[in-house]
C-alpha cells in the first residue's frame, strides 16, 4: 500500500481495457440492429419480386401422371443437360427433378410422375430463408438468389417436397444462364432463363418432343391458355394439398 492520499488503483488499467473491449463488442453486437433501420428505409434490390417477371402472369405446369411411363426419364435428362447438372444420383448429387414411382400397397397399382419444385404461391422455403435469398417472383417462379444464399439449408428442411438440393462440392463449367456454386442451395427454376425468352422449360419440351405429352406449361392466370382450360376441365390435384400452399405445379391422376 502506498503512503499517498490517493490509493493506487491497480485495477484501473484492467478496467479501462475492459471498458474499451466491452464498448467495441457492444458496437459489433448492436450493428445488426442499427442496420435494420437502414434496410427498412432502403429501396428494394435487384432480386425483388418484379425483376424480369411479366405482370399478371402466373406460370404453372400440369402433369398427367397417366401419360407418364414408369422408367422414362426424358424430363430428368433434359433438365440435367439444360442446367448443367451432373445427372449423378449419389446422396450428395443435386437433383432438380426426379421421377417418383408410386405403388398402392393393397392393389399393387403403380404409377409414375416427375417431382420438382412446386413453385408454391405460399412457399415455406421463402418463409424460412433468413436472408431472403429464397424468393418468389411476381410471376410465381420460386428461385434462389445465389448472391445472398449463405448455405444454411433451412429451406431444404422446410420444403415439403424435398425439392431443394445443396451443392456439396466445387463446381466447374456452369452454364452461363444457370448460376450454381458450392455451398449454396438450388432447385428447379422452371427454366426461368428460357421462360423469360418466351420458351418453355426443358422438361416440357423434351416430354412433348418425345411424344409423351405428359407435361403442359403455361400461364394459369390466362383463361385462354391450354393449361388453364385443362385445369378448368379436368380434376387436377396438388401434392400435399392439405398444406394449402397453392402450388403452381398440378397433377392429373393422383
Amino acid at each position: 500500500m502506498s503512503g499517498n492520499n490517493e490509493p493506487v488503483d491497480p485495477a484501473g488499467g484492467r478496467r479501462g481495457f475492459l471498458g474499451v473491449a466491452a464498448a467495441a463488442l457492444a458496437g459489433v453486437l448492436l450493428a445488426p440492429g442499427v442496420r435494420l433501420i437502414e434496410i427498412a428505409q432502403a429501396a428494394p434490390g435487384a432480386a425483388s419480386a418484379t425483376a424480369g417477371a411479366r405482370r399478371g402472369v402466373r406460370w404453372g405446369m400440369l402433369i398427367d401422371s397417366g401419360k407418364c411411363a414408369s422408367g422414362c426419364t426424358d424430363c430428368v435428362t433434359a433438365c440435367n443437360t439444360e442446367n448443367g447438372l451432373s445427372g449423378g444420383t449419389l446422396p450428395t448429387d443435386s437433383q432438380w427433378i426426379r421421377k417418383i414411382e408410386i405403388k398402392e400397397v393393397r392393389t399393387g397399382k403403380t404409377q409414375s410422375l416427375p417431382m420438382m419444385c412446386q413453385h408454391c404461391a405460399e412457399p415455406p422455403c421463402v418463409d424460412v430463408c433468413p436472408t431472403g435469398a429464397s424468393f418468389k417472383r411476381a410471376d410465381g417462379i420460386v428461385l434462389v438468389d445465389r448472391h445472398s444464399c449463405i448455405g444454411c439449408r433451412y429451406c431444404v428442411m422446410a420444403c415439403p417436397y424435398q425439392a431443394r438440393s445443396f451443392v456439396h462440392e466445387p463446381l466447374a463449367g456452369q452454364k452461363p444462364d444457370v448460376p450454381r456454386g458450392k455451398g449454396t442451395v438450388e432447385g428447379c427454376t422452371l427454366c426461368v432463363h428460357k421462360v423469360d425468352r418466351g420458351e418453355q422449360p426443358a422438361c416440357v419440351t423434351a416430354c412433348s418432343d418425345a411424344g409423351h405429352g405428359a407435361i403442359v406449361f403455361g400461364d394459369l392466370n390466362d383463361p385462354q391458355s391450354e393449361i388453364s382450360r385443362r385445369v378448368a376441365q379436368y380434376p387436377s390435384r396438388q401434392v400435399r394439398e392439405d398444406l394449402n400452399l397453392d402450388t403452381g405445379v398440378r397433377y392429373l391422376g393422383i
Binding site: 491497480p10 484492467r14 466491452a22 463488442l25 457492444a26 453486437l29 448492436l30 450493428a31 445488426p32 440492429g33 442496420r35 434496410i39 444420383t89 446422396p91 450428395t92 448429387d93 443435386s94 437433383q95 426426379r98 421421377k99 417418383i100 414411382e101 408410386i102 405403388k103 400397397v105 417431382m115 415455406p124 421463402v126 418463409d127 424460412v128 430463408c129 433468413p130 436472408t131 431472403g132 435469398a133 445472398s148 444464399c149 449463405i150 448455405g151 444454411c152 439449408r153 433451412y154 431444404v156 428442411m157 422446410a158 415439403p160 417436397y161 424435398q162 438440393s165 445443396f166 451443392v167 456439396h168 462440392e169 466445387p170 458450392k182 455451398g183 449454396t184 401434392v239 400435399r240 393422383i254
Partner: protein
C-alpha cells in the same frame, strides 16, 4: 453482513495451462476441419441432400439451448428474488455467454458460405425465425454483458434487477425462437408442433443447470473453495424439477403423436425400428438423460454425494446430445411423406429411411464449439473474478451485500 467477494482462480497453474492447451488444440483441429469443409465442400462430411443438418447442428443447438438455461441461476437471483444465489449470478451470466458463443461459432462455421456471414447480418427476411434468431442471439450476448456489468460494477448494482429482468425475458424469447426453428416446419412429421417451443424452454432449464452445476462444482473444487452441501442440495433439487419437466414434455410429445394416425409411422420409427435413433431415444434420451439422473438425485444413498450430483449433470448432458440427435437427425432420416399410404421410390431417396453417419470433420467442428465455450470460461475464471471467494454454507446463507469485485 458478509460480503462475498469474487476472486479469480489461483494456484495449480500447471494443470490449468494444460487444460487450456488441450482446449486450444481442439479448437485448432476444429478450425482445420472447417477449412477442409470450406475448401472441398460439405461432401467431406456425412451430410447429404436428405440429411442436411448433421452432427454440428446437434452440438450447436445443444450449446445454444444450454446457454439460455445457464442464465437460470442469475434469473432466480435477480428476477425471482432468491438473494442467496446472488454471488453465483456472475458465473451464470458468464456461462450463458460462453455457451452461446460456442454454439454460434459452430452454426456459422457449418454454413455452406461462411464467408457470407456479413450478408446474414445485413439482409433480413423477418418472416424467418432464423433471421429473428440472429438478432435474438446477438442481442442476448449484449444484454448479458450489460447485466454482468451491473453486477460487477458496484455503482451499477442498482440496475441489476432491471437488467436481470430484461435478460430473462430475452432468454425466453431466444429459446422460443430456437424451438420454433423446428416447430415452424410444417413439412416434417417430427417437427410441425407448437409444443417444440415450450419444450425447448424446459430443455434449456435442465441442460443449463447441468452445465452450471458441473462448472461450478468443478471450478470450486479445483481452487479449494468447495461448494457447501446446503447450496449443493438446493441446486440439485432444482435440477430434479427441471429433469422431471423434460420427461413430462417428452411423454406429452410422443403420446400426442401416437394419437395421430398420420404420425404412427414416424413414432414407430423413433420408438421401435429406427435402429440407432431408437437406441439413442430409449438409452440416451430417456435412460441416461432423464431416469438415471433422477434416480441419482433422489435416491437416499446417492442424493447427498457431490460425485452423484456431478455424475447426474454429466448424464443429463449426454442425454441432451442424444435427444438433439434423435430430434434433428432422426427427423431428417425419416422420409417426407408426399403420398400417404403409398409406397414410393425414386432416385432422390423418396420413401427410404435416409442413412447418415457423422464424419470426423463434423465431430471436430462440434467439439470445437464446446472447446470455445470452455476456453472462454477458463480464461474468465482465471483472470477475472467470477467465482465467489467462499461457497460454503455459512457464507452463502448469510444475507450478502452486493457481490464485491476484487482483483
Amino acid at each position: 453482513m458478509m460480503a462475498i467477494a469474487l476472486r479469480p482462480l489461483e494456484g495449480r497453474t500447471g494443470g490449468y495451462y494444460l487444460l487450456l492447451a488441450a482446449l486450444a488444440g481442439v479448437i485448432l483441429l476444429g478450425l482445420g476441419a472447417v477449412w477442409r469443409m470450406e475448401h472441398y465442400g460439405h461432401i467431406v462430411t456425412g451430410m447429404t441432400n436428405q440429411v442436411v443438418w448433421g452432427l454440428p447442428h446437434v452440438f450447436a443447438v445443444f450449446l445454444v439451448v444450454a446457454a439460455s438455461g445457464a442464465l437460470n441461476i442469475a434469473s432466480i437471483a435477480s428476477v425471482f428474488g432468491q438473494t442467496a444465489y446472488k454471488p453465483l449470478a456472475p458465473l451464470s451470466g458468464l456461462l450463458a455467454i460462453a455457451l452461446l458463443v460456442g454454439g454460434l461459432c459452430v452454426l456459422m462455421l457449418d454454413l455452406g458460405r461462411p464467408d457470407r456471414l456479413i450478408v446474414a447480418m445485413t439482409h433480413y427476411n423477418f418472416k424467418s425465425i432464423f433471421a429473428w434468431n440472429v438478432i435474438l442471439y446477438t442481442g442476448f450476448m449484449g444484454l448479458v454483458i450489460a447485466y454482468l456489468w451491473t453486477m460487477l460494477e458496484r455503482r451499477m448494482n442498482r440496475f441489476t434487477p432491471m437488467a436481470g429482468m430484461a435478460a430473462f425475458l430475452w432468454r425466453v424469447a431466444l429459446t422460443t425462437g430456437t424451438g420454433s426453428i423446428f416447430g415452424f416446419l410444417v413439412a416434417r412429421q417430427a417437427f410441425d408442433s407448437a409444443l417444440l417451443a415450450p419444450m425447448f424452454i424446459v430443455l434449456s432449464l435442465a441442460y443449463g443447470q447441468a452445465v452450471f452445476l458441473l462448472v461450478l462444482v468443478g471450478a470450486a473444487r479445483w481452487c479449494g473453495r468447495p461448494v457447501g452441501p446446503g447450496l449443493l442440495q438446493r441446486l440439485a433439487r432444482l435440477q430434479v424439477i427441471f429433469v422431471a419437466a423434460t420427461f413430462y414434455f417428452a411423454v406429452v410429445y410422443h403420446l400426442t403423436n401416437l394419437y395421430f394416425t398420420k404420425h404412427h409411422d414416424f413414432e414407430r420409427f423413433i420408438l421401435l425400428d429406427g435402429g440407432i435413433y431408437t437406441a439413442l431415444f430409449w438409452l440416451g434420451q430417456v435412460l441416461v438423460g432423464m431416469l438415471l439422473p433422477l434416480a441419482l438425485l433422489l435416491h437416499p444413498a446417492t442424493r447427498h454425494k457431490v460425485r452423484s450430483i456431478m455424475l447426474s449433470s454429466a448424464l443429463v448432458i449426454l442425454g441432451a446430445l442424444a435427444q438433439m440427435y434423435v430430434t434433428i437427425i432422426g427427423g431428417q432420416a425419416f422420409p417426407l411423406v408426399l403420398f400417404p399410404g403409398r409406397q414410393v421410390s425414386s432416385s432422390f431417396r423418396d420413401g427410404m429411411v435416409n442413412a447418415y453417419l457423422p464424419s470426423i470433420p463434423e465431430w471436430l467442428l462440434g467439439l470445437c464449439g464446446v472447446a470455445i465455450a470452455g476456453l472462454i470460461v477458463l480464461v474468465a475464471l482465471r483472470f477475472l473474478g467470477f467465482l465467489p471467494e467462499r461457497l460454503d454454507d455459512a457464507a452463502m446463507d448469510a444475507p450478502p451485500a452486493a457481490p464485491a469485485h476484487r482483483e
